[in-house]
Amino acid sequence: MKSYGETRAVQGVDLVVEKGHVYGVLGPNGSGKSTTVRLLLGLARPDAGEVQLFGESLTEHGPELLKRVGAVVEAPACIPYLSGRDNLRLLEKYVPNRGEAGIEEALARVHLTDAAHRKFKTYSLGMKQRLGIAAAILHDPELIILDEPSNGLDPQGTREVRELIPELAAEGRTIVLCSHLLHEVEQVCDAVAIFQNGRVIAEGPTAQLMGESARLEVQIADLEAAESLLRKSPWATAVSRQNGSIFIAGAGMQAADVNRLLATNGLYASVLRPLKHSLEEVFFELTGEDTNA
């Protein structure tokens, strides 16, 4: 548990992240996701309870566990008077790994080799963000925590980061991605946790979270008969009619099952279209946030 004054920032959070997966952490501002990241990285101390990472206590084995983690927390943090390369050299001095070869590889990976001699303070926000990612991957960590890695990046940079994340996961690393870009999370994350008021209110594979509230649109000649039949089906939790179409909502519902049910009763659909919710819709539905805000 972690509180700031009267506000309880995080309480009883338990995230299970599969090795080699990309795990998205979503939540409105102040929902506790950044505090959770800081607790995981040992940057904030819990008021009560214990933080565990890789199943082990961070209090007891903090330095050993954290050597297996790379992170970009909020904006990238580097020494402004050092060059990009010297910033990585500094980190390599703190936690020695592969020396100059590792530094050059990390710089190349984020396309910063040509600007590596320039001082960090002269970098654009996008370059700073990329150097932050290079710093996070420098010591070859098993777990990479990226808090808003696309902040300040232009569309090209955002795309590069989006492509880099699955690449890192493909190397067997586990990625935890905190992002406000729901579309980005939907594209790259295998699983998602949604935070609100310091707790996880929903967690699971991305496809499952989006599919749990899946809908089907059915266009058919005999609307009355089809609606009556679908209301009696085991998987439909809600059936409504609108503009000459029937909309069915239900968990685990498959279009083929609906089609089979209609056909065996002599009803033939002219249109049968799955209407999946986007992650954005799921997010706003769960958190109750105003989509126009």
């Binding site: 800081r38 050993e64 954290l66 050597k67 500094l90 703190y94 936690v95 710093a135 010591h139």
Partner: protein, 288 residues
Amino acid sequence: MREAIASELFKTLRRRMTYIILGAMAVLVTMFYVILWLRLRQGPDPTVASQVRYESLRQGMSFENVVSYALELERFFATLLCVVFTATMMGNEYDWRTAGLVLSRGVRRRDFVAAKVLVSLGFIVVMVTFGFLVAMACSAWFTNLYHLSYGTFSVARAWNVVASIGRTSFVIVPLVLMSLLFATIWRSAGQAVGFSLGFFFLESIFTGLLDTASGFLGKIPEALLNVNAAAVMSANGAVQGDTGGGGPLGGGSSGGPSVLRGAAVLSAWLVVFLVVSFWRFERRDVQE
């Protein structure tokens, strides 16, 4: 720990502020000698007191007295500059959030602070030695110009120089560690510099007021930094021919605590600042 020290040195040697501070020391010491030289060029006033003071200044500038004179001068300048150096060294890590970056990679918090303490202590010695070399150069020039005494060169004198540099460095340490402590508590370089230098200047004013007090109030200055630092500095020796100026900045110890007691009180403060700094940093949130 070795890695943390190497990293801290890497940062320090590439930091422009390090060289600016050393340059500032050279400029301040040189300026002081130049101002004294300009004053001496005017010659003494006809009054006896002025002639005594004039002679005292002349003697202070001589190479023979460079240890006691220059190091007393340096104590003041080096304290100001080393407080800025250490407070920014710690405070900037919060401002730039680089403390979080380093600690999140598994660097132990105590190693992180210990490296800063060791580099700060090393910097104090470098600063005092460098300032002393500048003072020696200025003093040698004036000694040659005014045909003053160089004194005798001996091994004992060389050791006295080393010991005096050590004593001067030592009296600066408590205030430097105070700045480290407040940079750790407030997570800010500016506030730590302000508080530490404020204390440095205000302490002498308030203890000056308490000098004439009796009983408990009169004892307060002896438990603080300035009086005890002056006691330790008195072991550097008095300026030959000085009749009570008490060094270039009019300080000096007359009737204060002994050198040993002064060193003990300063050591106690030093330990307190150090222990609280480590304790606070170990337990605090590095980023909120």
